[in-house]
Symmetry: C2
Subunit: 270 residues, 2 copies
C-alpha cells in the first residue's frame, strides 16, 4: 500500500518496518517497534535476531513500508548504497543517527531519486529507556518526503508514546552538540580519569558516575562519530575547554591561597 492512502485509519496494523543494523541500539529499537508493527531485521554480520523480530534478507527488508538504518553515522552512505537496489517504490528510508546533517546528505546522495527520506533521532537508548521508550524525545526531520508521508509517520511515532519533536537536521545538530554531545564527551573524560564509586559519594557525584557509566556503555564509534561528524561539537569542546581554563585561572591552578573569610556563609555541600 502507499502510505497515507487512508489517513483516517492512522497506520495499518499490518505495517512492516525493516531495520538495518542490529547492534546495541538497533536490536533495542527493533524489539521496541515489534510491539507495534511487523519488524524484519538485517545485519551484515551474524548477530542474534532481536526479540519479537524476524531475520530477513536485505531485499525483504527493502520491501517494508519503512526501513530504518541503525548503523554507525559514518556508515550511512555505505548502508544506503547496499540497500538502494532493494527499495520498493513506496518504501520510506529513515536513519536513527545521533547526528542529522551528515547522514541526511548521505541518504540523499545514495538512495534512488524517488525514495522518500526522513531523518530521525531517538534521544535514548537501552540504558536510558530500559524501562520503556514512552515519554522520551524523538527528533523527526523530513528530508525529502511529502507532508502526507511525513505527518503519517510523525503520528505513528507519537502513538508509540514518544515525545516527537520536528526540527531541521541543522537545528538538531546545534542543539545536540550542547546536550548529548557534551554529555558523551564528559562521560569519556571521567572514564579516562578512572573515577570510581565511593562510600562518601554525594548525590551529585553519583549522577556524574551514572553519566560516565551510561555513555561508556555505548559503542566507542558512537562517541567518535558524535564528536567528529556533528559540525557543532568542535565549538562545544572549545567552549568547554575555555570555561575550564577560566575556572583554573580563577583558582590559581592548584595553589592553596586562602579565599576571603566568610564567617556567615554555610559550608557543607550538596
Amino acid at each position: 500500500m502507499s502510505l497515507g492512502e487512508n489517513p483516517s485509519e492512522g497506520y495499518p496494523v499490518a505495517m512492516r518496518i525493516g531495520i538495518v543494523g542490529t547492534g546495541r541500539f538497533g536490536s533495542f529499537w527493533a524489539t521496541s517497534l515489534s510491539k507495534h508493527a511487523t519488524v524484519l531485521t538485517f545485519n551484515r554480520s551474524d548477530r542474534p535476531t532481536p526479540e519479537g523480530c524476524n531475520a530477513a534478507s536485505l531485499s525483504e527488508v527493502g520491501s517494508c513500508d519503512a526501513i530504518m538504518l541503525c548503523v554507525a553515522i559514518s556508515a550511512i552512505g555505505e548502508a544506503t548504497r547496499e540497500l538502494a537496489p532493494h527499495l520498493t517504490d513506496d518504501a520510506v528510508l529513515m536513519d536513527t543517527c545521533s547526528v542529522k546533517v551528515d547522514p541526511a546528505r548521505a541518504m540523499v546522495a545514495h538512495a534512488p531519486p524517488h525514495t522518500e527520506i526522513i531523518a530521525t533521532h531517538p534521544m535514548f537508548g537501552p540504558d536510558s529507556a530500559g524501562a520503556g521508550i514512552s515519554g522520551h524525545p524523538f527528533v523527526f526531520s523530513p528530508v525529502r518526503a511529502s507532508e502526507r508521508t511525513s505527518s503519517h509517520w510523525q503520528l505513528f511515532f507519537a502513538e508509540l508514546g514518544l515525545d516527537v519533536i520536528r526540527m531541521t537536521p541543522d537545528e538538531h545538530d546545534r542543539e545536540a552538540a550542547f546536550t548529548q554531545g557534551i554529555t558523551h564527551f564528559l562521560g569519556r573524560v571521567l572514564a579516562d580519569m578512572d573515577l570510581h564509586p565511593s562510600p562518601i559519594a554525594t548525590v551529585g557525584y553519583q549522577k556524574l558516575l551514572e553519566v560516565m557509566q551510561q555513555t561508556c556503555n555505548d559503542p566507542f564509534q558512537l562517541f567518535v562519530d558524535l564528536q567528529q561528524l556533528n559540525e557543532h561539537t568542535g565549538e562545544m569542546r572549545e567552549r568547554l575547554q575555555t570555561s575550564l581554563g577560566r575556572l583554573m585561572e580563577l583558582l590559581g591552578g592548584s595553589t592553596t591561597d586562602r579565599g576571603p573569610s566568610a564567617v556567615d556563609s554555610s559550608e557543607s555541600g550538596s
Copy 2:
C-alpha cells in the same frame, strides 16, 4: 553533664547542641538536629532563626554539650577564636566543613587545650537531602577526643539515620577531592558554559544539568574553599585537564575527519 557518663542510655533527651553560622547549610543542619536535641543558634550577622531552634548568644552556645561550626572553611580559625572564651569544660567542638585537614588544624590551634575536638562532614545539603538526611553519608573524624566521647557522638549521629563513616581528615580530603570536589568543579564549569534545559535533553544531559544547578545553589565561597583548601583538589583538576586534553587530541580538536566505518555498530545514544 559530662558526655558518655551513661553510655547505656545512648544520648540524653535534654542534649543541647549549639550551631555557629546559620547560612544556607547551617540553618538546614540546625533544623534537622532540632528534631533530636535542643538547638541554640548564633550567627554573627542578623539572620532569621532556623525553624525549631532558639537564637542565643555566643556564650549560651558555648555552654552546649556540643558546638558545631557551620561557617566557611576559611573562617574556622576565626570562629574558634571567638568561641573559645565561652566554651565550658565538657563542651565538644565540631566543624561541618567540606574539607577536613585544614579546619581540624585551625580548631586545634585556637580552641582551649582541654577542649575535645571532632571534625565532621555531612556529605549532603538542603538540595540533596531536602527529603530528609536519613541514609546520607556523614564523615566522622575524631581529632582530639577520648574514645568514650567519640563513640558517644558517633552513636548520636548514627541514630539520626546517617551513614556514619569514620576516617581521618586526610583520608577524607583525598577521597572528597575526587568525588565532591570534581562534582563542584564541573558544575561551575558547566554553569560558565551557560548550559540550559532542552526539549531534546537526554537522561544523561538532564543529570549534568542537575549537577550544575545543585552545585551552583551552594555559596561561591564553598566552591573556592573546596578547591583551594583541600590539598588534593589541585591534583584532581590537573588529572581532569590531562584527560580532557587526551580526548581532544584523540579527536583531533574540532576537525571532522571521518572515523573508521562500522556498519554493524549501533548509533543512537543514551
